[in-house]
Symmetry: C2
């Protein structure tokens, strides 16, 4: 029986590449996505199709919205800014988002008997999110291995971040080799209901540049 992995999936380019890599590595994959009150819901539709394409179980979980506030991704009155390239925590930061996502994934992993959790964070294209840094991930893993019955009984959990040291271009090349259908992914912070991208937010600019540098045709649909 294949070992199981829980894969955090946003429907975007990075997490889809993670899911493809986990599947190619022989894991029985459980793709987990969250409704946390994000303004654009095209990503939640995307992940359903992607999980199906990649043969993963898909779990869409609804979270209480109260903690996920004060972010351009969740509040109508905060606009998603155009790309600036500045090295500060952007207004698209969502309070404790990765911590909540990883915590829920930790519980699911214990219930499923999975010892691996994938999350598609990257240091190279780090746009200032504290909960994407390697020291944060390592610290979460340390905590997780003190938290659960499974860990106490020797079934430790490992947080896999295979994209941590890859540029966007390298991630795209990896996914391209794995046969990822990037036309299905939604990266844009303010995609319209059909999943079409704005082309000028942080996410769009980094993605576009990534395809150019990777020498891979960009299948993104722009609005």
């Amino acid at each position: 029986m294949a070992p199981k992995a829980v894969v955090l999936c946003s429907g975007g380019l990075d997490s889809t590449t993670c899911l493809a890599l986990a599947a190619a590595s022989g894991y029985e994959c459980h793709a987990v996505s969250f409704d946390y009150g994000q303004k654009q819901s095209a990503e939640l539709e995307a992940i359903k199709r992607i999980a199906k394409q990649l043969g993963a179980e898909h779990h869409l979980l609804e979270l209480p919205k109260m903690g996920f506030k004060q972010s351009a991704l969740t509040e109508e009155h905060i606009q998603v800014p155009d790309y600036t390239g500045k090295d500060e925590v952007p207004v698209t930061y969502v309070p404790a988002r990765n911590t909540v996502f990883l915590s829920i994934a930790l519980g699911l992993a214990e219930v499923l008997g999975a010892q691996v959790i994938y999350i598609g964070v990257s240091l190279v294209d780090y746009s200032g999110y504290p909960d994407c840094r390697p020291e944060y991930i390592q610290s979460f893993e340390n905590m997780a291995n003190l938290a659960t019955k499974a860990a106490v009984e020797g079934q430790k959990v490992s947080i896999h971040t295979p994209l941590m040291h890859l540029s966007k271009a390298q991630t795209i090349q990896l996914g391209h080799r794995l046969g990822v259908d990037y036309s299905q992914t939604v990266t844009c912070y303010q995609a319209d209901d059909t999943g079409a991208a704005c082309g000028h937010c942080d996410s769009c600019v980094l993605r576009k540049k990534g395809f150019e540098e990777a020498g891979v045709p960009d299948p993104t649909r722009y609005a």
Copy 2:
């Protein structure tokens, strides 16, 4: 303006004492409780009354049930056992529960501008839950201070566990001095719909013993 605290509240004796202590310490308290699929819902009714008595804001948040399985507290087919006093992880353990609770509290704290989170875990009456140990709490706090924008910008968060080194009797004496109305609290793992206790599960036995040792009249209603 009073500093704010987020207080994890189950409606039980320990977390109610924490809430009373946080309020007495001058915090503007935000009592947070969760519907995570627990079989007995009397505790969720209890916490509403308790928060009101103690002048706290109350937030009841609904969590996805999928991760909180394989526990006697959530699965109808797993019976809550009688008290054994054994030093092992009991079947009332819920996968990653405190980690999910603290993570949601962390996001709320950031949104509210609170730098303190209270959780009523105790080492002395530790009945084998890994996520009640001081090394786990310290590790969560370390992780939390790498996770958030607030922490990166200098507003670190502190996880307060004032009951960690108190026996149940000492906790009851503390709450008694603070004027806590323990008749409102529901400790039993399988309380009936009115909040009446079974009298023989782990929680009931430890609570009963606590009142006896504390020399405080036990207001618990038994079924």
